[in-house]
């Protein structure tokens, strides 16, 4: 959204620079249970984004003053590796990553059955290994798979996907160029069983009609992503059983 370019983001055939149509998302890859020492973990690739998520807990909440006597809290840490972007990212939390950590925690708190674990804390760590626009969506997608993998009771698994606008076209799942030189970026996350929205942000401008169309596309994309999330979790156990029966 910040820069301008002479690059044609959407050509006359309606194809984008990576050959996708407006309503096509990037290829997804999800794997659950990739780390041994965390209680739950997941690895997600959305196009060129590579994200690792790990979950610990429920465990005793530290610092104590954050404890809630009625329910558990979800503490999320979103962190970008210094090598995740083309210019080295200065390590450590900054304003952007603190914001993303907060919105992801809030989205997850809506699905986790926190009232089962009063005073406890569920810790989620999201590491961005490689970024190419849409890392908060990839991060939340990975985090919810990791939570389910940790056996934490939750209503549903949340998928997240962005829609946006570039070159005057409403597009699904923006890549880096479309994000940088486009007109709008709208990440959303839903609860698939009810289609409730648990995360919604908008950077840039869109008309009401464009926005509605974008949301519709993103919700459909989220449902597709959700199938892959479920598949990743189930595969973990069916694969194991097959290996052993050999």
């Amino acid at each position: 959204m910040s820069g301008h370019t002479d690059m044609v983001l959407v050509d006359e055939n309606g194809l984008r620079i990576d050959g996708r149509t407006a309503e096509q998302h990037r290829p997804f890859k999800i794997e659950a249970g990739v780390l041994n020492n965390a209680d739950g973990s997941a690895y997600v690739e959305i196009g060129k984004n590579k994200v690792l998520a790990a979950v610990y807990g429920p465990r005793e909440c530290h610092p104590r003053h954050l404890q809630d006597p009625t329910k558990a809290i979800v503490q999320c840490k979103y962190n970008m590796q210094s090598f995740s972007v083309s210019d080295r990212k200065r390590p450590g939390p900054d304003r952007r990553s603190i914001e993303i950590s907060k919105i992801i925690s809030e989205a997850l708190e809506k699905v986790v059955l926190t009232e089962l674990y009063p005073r406890a804390s569920i810790d989620v760590y999201i590491e961005i290994l490689q970024a190419n626009a849409g890392t908060r969506c990839a991060g939340l997608t990975a985090a919810s798979v990791a939570l389910a993998d940790a056996g934490i009771p939750m209503r549903d698994i949340v998928p997240a996907l962005a829609c946006g606008k570039a070159d005057g076209h409403v597009l699904l799942d923006l890549n880096k160029e479309e994000d940088n030189y486009g007109q709008a970026d709208v990440p959303i996350a839903i609860i698939p069983s009810t289609d409730e929205i648990v995360l919604l942000q908008m950077d840039g401008n869109m008309t009401r009609e464009e926005f509605d169309r974008g949301i519709k596309m993103a919700v459909a994309g989220c449902h597709e992503l959700h199938e892959l999330q479920k598949d990743a979790l189930k595969r973990r156990y069916s694969k194991k059983a097959e290996e052993e029966s050999e």
Binding site: D39, G40, G57, P58, R59, E60, P69, V111, L113, Y117, P118, R119, A120, A148, D149, A150, G151, I152, P153, M154, R155, D156, I157, I191, P192, S193, T194, Q229, K230, L233, K234, Y237, S238, K240, A241, E244, S245
Partner: protein
């Protein structure tokens, strides 16, 4: 016994999956949304009479009253000890719940940090405050042996159908084995035998999802410890 029902279908569900839409009642780890029963954890779908629930495959240990668990003393107060039992919450053990008469402030003479104890969960209240006791037969401070920690969801596999797996382990390795409901297992025996027993327990945890486990564990132990013919009777341990 709930496990055995699940074994027939072995349908793995993840949070949000619909378990039933025909009016069954929600069982463990299930909730109702728009008249449909949905799963709230990843696990195996389990139908029991008119309820449908999920047996979790993963997840932390949540104590329930009556559980026999192992614990490690992590802190000492003047009239209580704090015990880590692998739950999200610390379990205080009050001096009135130990089999000794302890003077106020004299707690560290009986149990110190790092001691392993076998306890029973007395109660877990609504705000998840746990109270434990050591005043029951068999409950004691543990000396010697080794403690193995596995996921509490695999405890029923280690024990086996009416204790078949655990009694086989005990007989074949000639070890004393006690299983805590929290997935902490105490193994005591001759070094080599105990090592084999621990390896077998870890193998059970790893392969808990596959069938025919008892036979494979038996084979594994036989390979490691040659069994005497006359030693292998089905007596108690």
């Amino acid at each position: 016994m709930e496990r055995r029902n699940a074994r027939h279908t072995r349908e793995i569900v993840v949070p949000g999956d619909i378990l039933d839409g025909t009016g069954m009642r929600p069982g463990d780890n299930a909730y109702v949304l728009d008249g449909k029963v949905r799963a709230s954890v990843m696990g195996v779908r389990n139908v029991f009479q008119n309820t449908v629930g999920v047996i979790p495959l993963r997840g932390g240990y949540m104590p329930t009253s009556g559980d026999t668990v192992f614990g490690i003393i992590v802190d000492i107060g003047p009239s209580n000890w704090l015990v880590d039992i692998g739950a999200p919450y610390p379990a205080p053990l009050h001096v009135s719940e130990v089999p000794w008469k302890v003077e106020f402030g004299d707690t560290s003479r009986y149990l110190t940090i790092g001691n392993v104890v076998l306890l029973k969960v007395l109660s877990v209240d609504e705000s998840k405050k746990i109270s434990v006791t050591m005043k029951d037969s068999g409950l004691r401070r543990i000396e010697g042996g080794r403690l193995v920690k596995i996921s509490h969801t695999k405890v029923s596999r280690v024990i086996g159908k009416s204790g078949s797996m655990i009694s086989m382990l005990k007989n074949m390795t000639d070890c004393r084995i006690t299983v805590g409901q929290n997935g902490w297992i105490w193994v005591d025996g001759e070094d080599e035998n105990a090592e084999v027993a621990i390896q077998a327990i870890e193998m059970i945890e790893e392969q808990a999802q596959s069938g025919n486990l008892t036979d494979r564990i038996k084979e594994f132990i036989e390979k490691k410890i040659p069994q005497d013919e006359d030693d292998y009777d089905e007596g108690d341990e």
